[in-house]
């Protein structure tokens, strides 16, 4: 007689598809493995779009809940990383639109404490300075700069995501770069 298979058991070297399949039926080990594989990249784009830690954490959790709730809809037509990244970006942008509708005031400057890492590596310091400048950008500029110059989205793609034209995206991007450059110069003095 055929022995029933434990469908929740962890395979020895799970493929991405197996991880998704097991996470979709609630295997905790698979949920954790998917999270560990993609957390940093998703957190990066969400945190840079949010501009602050508290918002980023809320948007991050909301993004992951949407990703996990829709695993059954993942067809493998793109990589899981690409699929999840798009959900995270859409979640962050729609969350920001909700905030705007609640009339949250965008503030241009906030006191950002720069934490220099103990090893004082030049690249790590540059990253901190860049992130501090990105955080200080107005939200509209920030989202265009992050999506285009960091995440690699095209002008038309961004236009579709945020509901504007490619021409507006190009203009906003130029303003964002100029503003970021100014903020970095202020930081250098």
């Amino acid at each position: 007689m055929h022995e029933p298979t434990n469908i929740l058991a962890e395979p020895s070297s799970p493929s991405e598809w197996e991880l998704v399949r097991h996470a979709a039926i609630g295997a905790e080990w698979a949920v954790g493995a998917l999270y560990d594989a993609h957390a940093d990249r998703l957190y990066s784009v969400i945190r840079r779009l949010a501009g602050e830690d508290a918002l980023a954490e809320d948007w991050c959790q909301e993004s992951w809940m949407r990703i996990l709730a829709n695993l059954h809809a993942f067809r493998g037509e793109s990589s899981f990383a690409t699929w999840a990244h798009r959900i995270a970006v859409n979640t962050a942008l729609s969350s920001r639109r909700r905030l705007l509708r609640r009339a949250v005031i965008e503030h241009e400057a906030s006191s950002i404490e720069l934490r220099v890492p103990p090893d004082d590596a030049e690249r790590a310091l540059l990253r901190l300075r860049l992130d501090a400048a990105i955080d200080r950008l107005p939200a509209g500029m920030r989202q265009v700069l992050v999506l285009h110059d960091i995440e690699g989205y095209g002008h038309e793609e961004i236009a579709q995501l945020i509901g504007t034209t490619g021409s507006n995206v190009r203009s906003q991007l130029a303003r964002a770069r100029a503003k970021a450059r100014t903020l970095l110069q202020e930081d250098e003095r």
Partner: protein, 184 residues
């Protein structure tokens, strides 16, 4: 286009936003000529190109550890709410159906004759026939609940239909044994 720097400065330079756009946009002939001779605009453009390069290669941030705990805990908590998780109802119904098939397979193998109806093997192998029909009714109700949560799921629909057929067969067999009494 070349813009005046300010009202008091007669020098004409490329505006900051236009320079930012030139990082990855084509330049006009006039802009090319200006950049060929203006150290200030050239230096500003170089800094913007460096910024663009830095952003393109910026390292990812590290996701805080406490977010992982929250995400996994929230995901597991959602599993405890089957009415929100159609796949949980599917998994439960599938488990019930598979266990029923396994019981039936054992019963069929041990039955005195090779060909028996699905209702027959449950009635003959599982003690009180009324209790067996009641059990099948309960299992079919579970499958129906799962189907209500995920009406488009083909897997759940198949399981529900098979369980319903098993229940009808068992009830019909019991009715025959009890002189035509209708069971469900």
């Amino acid at each position: 286009m070349i813009y005046p720097d300010n009202r008091t400065n007669p020098d004409k330079h490329i505006a900051a936003e236009r320079l930012a756009a030139l990082v990855d946009s084509p330049r006009t002939l006039q802009e090319e000529r200006h950049l060929a001779s203006c150290g200030r605009c050239n230096a500003a453009l170089m800094r913007l190109e460096q910024l663009r390069q830095s952003l393109a290669t910026i390292e990812p941030l590290r996701s805080p550890a406490h977010i992982r705990a929250r995400v996994v805990a929230a995901a597991m908590h959602r599993q405890q709410e089957p009415h929100r998780r159609p796949w949980l109802g599917w998994a439960a119904a599938a488990a019930l159906f598979v266990s029923g098939v396994l019981v039936g397979a054992v019963a069929a193998r041990n039955a005195p004759s090779g060909n028996i109806s699905s209702g027959d093997w449950l009635v003959t192998r599982m003690g009180d026939p009324v209790a067996r029909v009641a059990l099948l009714e309960a299992v079919a109700l579970s499958a129906r609940a799962a189907l209500a949560q995920a009406p488009q799921d083909p897997g759940i629909r198949v399981i529900h239909e098979r369980l319903a057929a098993e229940r009808r067969a068992a009830a019909a067999a019991l009715s025959n044994e009890t002189g035509g009494v209708r069971w469900f």
